[in-house]
């Protein structure tokens, strides 16, 4: 099957590696700020609930994995 919009002009986007590193660093700063706010709420108002501890561990573990993959993707880019 032919592309329905094949007659449109082709365009390309130039993405530099350093720009992607800056995006990652800025994103990490935002993430760290929100994480600090969340963890503050969980510890101050969570009444030491077991579910809060599980949530905190899950949040941080998955975040580390996702950041690790993003970091890896940038190194091989």
């Amino acid at each position: 099957m032919q592309q329905p919009f094949k007659d449109l002009p082709t365009f390309s986007v130039s993405v530099g590696k350093s720009a992607l590193w800056i995006i990652l660093i800025v994103f990490f700063i935002g993430y760290a700020t929100i994480s600090a706010i969340l963890i503050y709420h969980w510890r101050k108002y969570g009444m030491s609930n077991g579910n809060i501890l599980i949530a905190e561990s899950l949040f941080l573990t998955v975040s580390v994995i996702l950041f690790g993959i993003a970091f890896f993707a940038l190194t091989i880019f």
Partner: protein, 197 residues
């Protein structure tokens, strides 16, 4: 942070039903898997070349991880608002913590002796099936507002627990008459009562 009286313990916690949060989580789940699908459709429909340097796969993976992290944060912000919006039922009172947003909390308490009535309303098939309902605790005081929680989990059980605590507290603080045994006539006077505590 909640401050309980010495010896006061939380006997029950009341939250909105998990299904209320599940609806939001489901929406985020859809949002998480949508970008790869949309990207495939987009590059099929529109002639698009990406990028001029580096690997397209690595760039796509990087962008997708950033997207997933954004959704992950949004999920936990919403979960925090859901989980910290709670009623703590203690032996003496109900503490209502209304978590409206991350930086907006309201905490109010009502002692059991100020409770006038508790109304539970379960509407609809799904609410009946999942045991979801609205709970309203009416207060006897004119100064304090009623406590209300929409879509609470197991509302009938909450009502039973609150009434049980209310009855226990009433029994505990019921006035008793002290009978004069030594004949000095003091304790027999009307109004000379003590309260068991």
């Amino acid at each position: 942070m909640l401050h309980l009286d010495p010896g006061e313990k939380i006997v029950h916690e009341v939250r909105k039903h998990w299904f209320v949060f599940f609806a939001y989580g489901f929406f985020l789940g859809i949002a998480a898997i949508l970008p790869p699908i949309l990207f495939e459709v987009f590059i099929y429909l529109v002639p698009f070349r990406l990028p001029t340097e580096g690997s397209i796969g690595a760039l796509g993976m990087f962008a997708y991880m950033i997207w997933l992290l954004t959704i992950w944060i949004a999920f936990f912000v919403q979960w925090t608002n859901y989980y910290l919006d709670v009623w703590h039922v203690t032996q003496k009172r109900i503490i209502d913590v209304e978590q409206k947003s991350l930086f907006h909390r309201e905490i109010s308490t009502i002692r059991f002796d100020k409770i006038q009535d508790i109304t539970v309303e379960v509407r609809g098939f799904l609410a009946t099936f999942l045991d979801i309902g609205d709970i309203r605790v009416q207060t006897a005081s004119e100064n304090s507002k009623d406590f209300f929680m929409r879509s609470a989990s197991r509302p009938e059980q909450v009502r039973r627990i609150v009434f049980a605590q209310h009855n226990w507290e009433s029994e505990r603080s019921r006035p008793v008459r002290v009978v004069d045994k030594d004949g000095d006539g003091y304790a027999d006077q009307p109004g000379n009562t003590e309260t068991e505590k």
